[in-house]
């Protein structure tokens, strides 16, 4: 049973069977003191990597795991998002998706085992699979962090089925030892409170194109946001992600239509960042209007240039959303409610364009469905969606894997500009 089938969910019994015999590197988790799922009795856990028991050697896994700092996440710093993963069979898995620096570290740990385990043709994102009742309780509680949801992470374990093969106790790296020495920061500019790295809450690092990066702290007394020169300006991208954890990039990795970025701490300076403007007010309608505005000036310029590369080379995009022939065919193919248009699969060039013209409304339907598909893959993230509208789903995953800065792509910039103007 491939893990992909499991993660996409076939049924809970299959999940249980796998959990009983697979090899997993996990952080065991307890939720409000409960360690096991009440429905199927499987240990709550946050997987770091799932291995193939037929292929991967436990000693080798342990050797590689020993190289990592497998310190359990601090629940206070882990932002959560109850969401669902839907499988091909339509079955829903209820998961608590994890965001923030710890989640990113878990992703890095996962990547450390590249080449092992099952083939991963999806973006790994840390999560805890839970039963529906627990999921509903957490969702309705409005908890934003793991701590608020009563989630605790325990020492990492390498498990083979229910047997614990190895436990990894926390170890402090030299840099972390250094962190224990609390450095004094400048006093709060609003209330004068004396700030140290211990009492001030670190929000993240703010990057500016032409100015030195700054670290953002939150004053515990007056709640003001204080800026200090950045300690690690070279870690701009990561720091920025921390500052707006879950806002756009994490939501992009979320891969769920329901992926709403957890609220990030706001400050006047953060609003000047170039990523995902007004991400909190995302709506599909707004995104569609944005695409329409960028692709055809709201339907005024629908004579698209000939496509020169890819599967549509030699053809033209169609209509106000600039839908390419392959996207049109693929969307019709993927949506059973568009079955009556299945003849479109055999149409090309002007025949396809004529067919679209003869079926007013089909264009809007296809654009809406295609956008929903992109939202499913990349979350409600204008950057990733803007990139994917031009480069496709695979192209976007590839760019994300290569850690390309999507926000600096010309099409994404246009989308962001137009998105900010849309209401």
């Amino acid at each position: 049973m491939a893990y992909l089938d499991l993660i996409k969910g076939q049924d809970e019994e299959t999940y249980k069977k796998y959990a009983q015999k697979g090899i997993d590197l996990i952080y065991p988790v307890s939720i409000n003191g409960e360690t096991h799922r009440p429905d199927i009795g499987v240990r709550y856990h946050n997987s770091i990597k799932v291995f193939d028991a037929d292929k991967d050697n436990k000693d080798h896994i342990h050797e590689k795991a020993s190289q990592l700092n497998l310190n359990p996440p601090d629940p206070k710093d882990v932002q959560i998002e109850p969401t669902t993963l839907q499988g091909r069979g339509g079955y829903k898995m209820h998961v608590i998706r994890l965001h923030g620096p710890h989640a990113e570290q878990t992703q890095q740990h996962n990547a450390h085992f590249n080449g092992m385990g099952f083939e991963q043709n999806y973006v790994f994102h840390p999560h805890i699979t839970v039963d529906e009742n627990t999921w509903n309780r957490i969702r309705l509680s409005g908890a934003k962090t793991a701590e608020e949801a009563g989630i605790k992470f325990h020492n990492a374990e390498l498990r083979h089925g229910p047997a614990v093969v190895q436990t990894y106790h926390p170890k402090l790296a030299a840099s972390e030892d250094a962190k224990k020495v609390h450095t004094e920061l400048k006093p709060c500019t609003s209330c004068g409170h004396k700030l140290t790295t211990e009492n001030a809450k670190f929000i993240g690092t703010q990057h500016w194109p032409r100015h030195p990066s700054q670290d953002l702290y939150n004053c515990p007394k007056c709640d003001s946001t204080i800026t200090m020169p950045a300690k690690h300006p070279e870690k701009m991208e990561k720091g920025l992600k921390h500052a707006v954890a879950g806002m756009a990039v994490a939501a992009g990795l979320a891969g769920s239509p329901a992926a709403q970025a957890p609220a990030a701490p706001k400050s006047a300076t953060q609003q000047q960042t170039s990523i995902a403007p007004n991400a909190n007010t995302y709506s599909s309608k707004r995104m569609l209007n944005t695409i329409q505005s960028v692709e055809s000036s709201n339907g005024k310029l629908e004579n698209h240039a000939e496509l020169t590369r890819g599967p549509d080379a030699g053809e033209h995009a169609f209509g106000k959303y600039g839908l390419t022939p392959s996207i049109i065919r693929e969307t019709v193919h993927l949506n059973p409610d568009l079955k009556r248009h299945k003849k479109i699969q055999n149409l090309q060039g002007t025949d396809l364009i004529h067919y679209m013209e003869d079926n007013p409304g089909l264009e809007d339907t296809i654009a809406t469905k295609h956008l929903a598909r992109l939202e499913h893959h990349f979350g409600q993230n204008p950057n990733a969606i803007g990139y994917a509208w031009l480069n496709g789903i695979r192209g976007t995953y590839k760019a994300q894997k290569q850690k390309k800065d999507l926000g600096s792509h010309w099409h994404v910039k246009k989308i962001n500009e137009a998105y900010a103007k849309e209401k």
Binding site: K343, N346, L347, D351, H354, E357, D358
Partner: protein
């Protein structure tokens, strides 16, 4: 368009649109017309027209999604008749000049109709035989050849027919 009573051959109930009856009128010249009162209009008007009642019904349903068809006496209007539009295979010029290609299928019989402003220009009869679509002659203007080829191919793909044959008359 004004129709005189002596030009009408028959009138039949076609269905209901916005709680108003829709009538199917057949002229003595063989033209079919659906007449009803669209939403927001005070008078009845021709909703759509065509050379074949099934094509009229097809266009009526496309243009007025709220139209509820009634059981009709006319065998041409029966529910087992399937109409398809293949006008996307026509050139821009032919489309702009009001041409269309339809296929009207009942059982194994298919009739391809090429129309201009809903009036029949050419008709090609065909039949599905085993794994082939057999066209019973093809006496059409050559400017429609590509459109006709596309329409026939589309129909063949629909039924999984492997061959398209043209029989000389």
């Amino acid at each position: 368009m004004n129709l005189k009573p002596e030009e009408i051959e028959s009138i039949e109930d076609a269905g209901i649109l916005n709680n108003q009856p829709v009538k199917m009128i057949r002229t003595k010249g063989g033209f079919w017309m659906a007449v009803g009162r669209p939403k927001g209009k005070l008078q009845q008007e021709a909703l759509t027209a065509g050379s074949h009642p099934a094509i009229v019904k097809y266009n009526l349903e496309k243009q007025y999604p709220d139209f509820q068809p009634a059981m009709m006496k006319s065998e041409h209007f029966a529910d087992d008749i399937k109409v398809d539009r293949h006008s996307h295979f026509l050139s821009d010029d032919l489309r702009k000049s009001g041409h269309d290609i339809y296929s009207v299928q009942k059982g194994a019989d298919i009739e391809f109709q090429i129309t201009k402003h809903n009036a029949e220009v050419h008709s090609v009869k065909a039949v599905i035989q085993d794994d082939a679509i057999v066209l019973k002659g093809m006496n059409i203007d050559k400017k429609f050849a590509r459109g006709m080829a596309g329409a026939t191919t589309e129909k063949a793909l629909e039924f999984g027919s492997k061959k398209i044959r043209v029989e000389a008359k």
